[in-house]
């Protein structure tokens, strides 16, 4: 408790300077994003629709190729791997999608769907595979008889449990949950959050939890990263973030969760900007247009990501903010 040793655990996943544009739509999806996740912890990635959260998830799974940047999984760059190495790595990381129904094959029984990853990665023999499906179905809190059913015979909560079971069956080190509870009822959502929490305790799994809902993030995450138009604007330990958010955008996001909508914001401002086009330069702050505390410099110069220095308290981890407001604070402190 009293020893403020810096975290010595190596990060399980490290994303360095990742950039991605969809050239056909001329849209910037990810813009120089860097973050890392320590083994066994949970990073909550928040942001509005279209901020680039899912693109990051896809890039980590190497389902899409970024323009530049590196993704290191256990210290190895996944983009330098050959297909054999990548296959071995994929087994160690799994993705759970938003819509459980569309991510399960309607023509396969639950058992077939669960067996598939094991067959694909050639794990175990026929008997041990079946044994494993039985185990995993219990782990996610379902009964054995769902194995014989088809996805349409299950409720959405059960389907999402199956999707999680399917992701866990290869015993991955990293689980990416992309809005995994967003389409569920509050009651089912609470059940799935409980499930994810207990699974993490049991299995020590590392989690990248993507959500637009800060309340859900608060339940699950150790660290929070805030994304806006492809950029990470703030990154900090969850306790720091929720008690003292620094970036104006983080503050705006938090104010929405307390059920207060800004009355003055014209619709067009927040609606029509569906991401940035590649033609737009990045010589300003991406949030400047909607920022309440904008300064002249925000339109001229893109802020760098500053690490906030703490004098009195031992931070739970580094706290980065990409905003001109905090430049001075930083220089004063150091």
């Amino acid at each position: 408790m009293s020893t403020p040793t810096p975290p010595t655990k190596p990060p399980l996943l490290e994303v360095r300077n990742l950039s991605l544009s969809f050239h056909q739509q001329e849209q910037v999806a990810i813009d120089r994003v860097s973050f890392s996740i320590t083994a066994g912890s949970t990073l909550g990635l928040v942001g509005a629709s279209g901020a680039g959260k899912s693109s990051i998830a896809r890039a980590i799974m190497r389902l899409i190729k970024p323009d530049s940047g590196e993704i290191l999984f256990k210290g190895k760059n996944i983009f330098m791997m050959n297909s054999q190495q990548m296959m071995a790595t994929r087994q160690r990381m799994q993705l759970v999608f938003q819509e459980p129904f569309t991510s399960l094959s309607p023509r396969r029984t639950i058992e077939q769907s669960l067996l598939e990853p094991l067959q694909h990665f050639a794990i175990g023999d026929t008997n041990s595979r079946q044994e494993k499906t039985r185990q995993i179905i219990q782990t996610v809190g379902l009964d054995h008889d769902v194995l014989r059913r088809y996805p349409h015979q299950l409720s959405s909560g059960q389907q999402q449990r199956i999707a999680i079971a399917r992701a866990l069956i290869t015993s991955p080190d990293l689980l990416i949950a992309d809005e995994a509870v967003a389409s569920l009822d509050v009651s089912i959502q609470a059940q799935i959050i409980q499930l994810i929490q207990s699974l993490q305790e049991e299995l020590g799994i590392t989690l990248l939890f993507i959500s637009h809902d800060l309340a859900v993030i608060r339940q699950i995450a150790n660290d929070v990263a805030v994304m806006y138009q492809g950029q990470l604007l703030e990154q900090s330990p969850a306790d720091t973030f929720f008690s003292k958010p620094n970036h104006p955008y983080s503050k705006t996001l938090l104010s929405f969760t307390n059920n207060k909508a800004p009355t003055s914001l014209p619709v067009e401002n927040w609606r029509l900007d569906r991401g940035r086009t590649t033609a737009e330069t990045t010589s300003n702050c991406v949030f400047a247009r909607s920022c309440q505390v904008k300064m002249p410099i925000c339109d001229q110069l893109e802020p760098a990501s500053h690490q906030i220095q703490y004098r009195n308290q031992h931070p739970l981890g580094p706290h980065y903010v990409k905003c001109h407001l905090y430049e001075e604070v930083n220089t004063n402190d150091t």
Binding site: V186, A215, V267
Partner: protein, 323 residues
């Protein structure tokens, strides 16, 4: 009391199947005053959408049975109208905002065309007049460049913009009642808040009564005065929002409330969930339908159905309500 904007009296909906009737809405009654919002909450599969579709008369006629003593809008019964009479009411007196604006809007017509078609159907008018009415309704929901939105096709708009366009379409005739069925569920928080704000503003202007259907109690709290809690086709609790959040009486309402994750500076305690799931309409438990999942269950709950007083302002259908 004839001042209710919407008064639903003893509404039931059932499916006819080979194995008999499956009751999905079970004798429910409620009313909403002009200018007020009432939330209808419950988990998926509780009959919320069925209630809405039955009120509007949009359920298919084969395989589905609907019965109601009366469904009144401003005192006028619409439960026994024929198809043509009903078309004259829908959109003008009562309108609905659906959950998926992407599928509720027609992809081959512009937004402007679709909105003005609603108005033309009921009131007619010159092209120029219709165009102006349509632009006004778009501006009323918060679009500052209404002309641009009017000439856009649904796929050119984002989810939130489509939902606002839907609201513009629902409000173009200034209906007495609007039913919003999970209309902000698919949107992110900031968009959700702004849409609710717009809806509220329109409601203030036109004294519209709104039935807001949602599983999200946090959202209902934000914008409703009264709330109805529904489970397996029955109403379990009716109260004003304030009392529901401070002291819910039905264990199910309390369970739903405890499921909502909270944003707090300190790390919140583990979230609690209602165990189990909504039973299917084929094998509803006897007695109180919620009994198998209820933490306060006692033998009586499985044998008889608790009474729900449909006249009182506050009512709860439970033998052991939380006080």
């Amino acid at each position: 009391m004839s001042c209710h904007a919407l008064k639903v009296n003893d509404l039931s909906v059932w499916f006819e199947t080979d194995s008999g009737r499956r009751q999905v809405v079970d004798h429910i009654s409620f009313s909403i005053n002009a200018g007020e919002s009432t939330g209808l909450v419950g988990e998926s599969g509780c009959g919320k959408t069925m209630t809405a579709l039955a009120i509007l008369g949009l359920l298919p006629t084969s395989g589905v049975g609907v019965s109601a003593a009366s469904i009144e809008i401003n005192g006028k019964d619409i439960s026994s109208l024929n198809a043509a009479q009903r078309r004259a009411v829908l959109g003008r007196d009562i309108a609905m905002i659906f959950q998926q604006p992407g599928t509720a809007l027609d992809p081959v017509f512009t937004i402007g065309h679709q909105i003005s078609a609603v108005y033309r159907r009921h009131f007619g008018g010159s092209k120029k007049h219709l165009w102006q009415i349509m632009l006004d309704s778009l501006e009323a929901v918060g679009f500052s460049r209404a002309e641009k939105i009017a000439s856009a096709y649904p796929h050119q708009l984002s989810g939130g913009m489509r939902q606002l366009a839907m609201i513009a379409m629902a409000t173009v005739c200034n209906p007495v009642v609007i039913i919003a069925d999970e209309s902000t569920t698919a949107l992110d928080n900031s968009t959700k808040s702004l849409i609710l704000k717009q809806l509220e503003r329109l409601q203030l202007q036109h004294k519209t009564a709104i039935l807001l259907i949602s599983h999200d109690l946090a959202m209902v709290r934000q914008s409703c005065r009264n709330v109805l809690v529904m489970y397996c086709g029955r109403l379990l609790e009716r109260t004003d929002c304030q009392s529901l959040y401070s002291h819910a009486q039905h264990p199910y309402s309390a369970g739903l409330l405890s499921c909502i994750p909270q944003v707090s500076a300190n790390r919140p305690p583990r979230i609690s969930a209602i165990p189990g799931q909504v039973p299917s309409a084929t094998d509803l438990p006897s007695g109180c339908h919620f009994a198998p999942r209820c933490i306060r269950v006692k033998p009586q709950c499985q044998q008889s159905v608790p009474h729900f007083d449909s006249e009182d302002d506050r009512a709860v259908a439970c033998f052991r309500p939380l006080s």
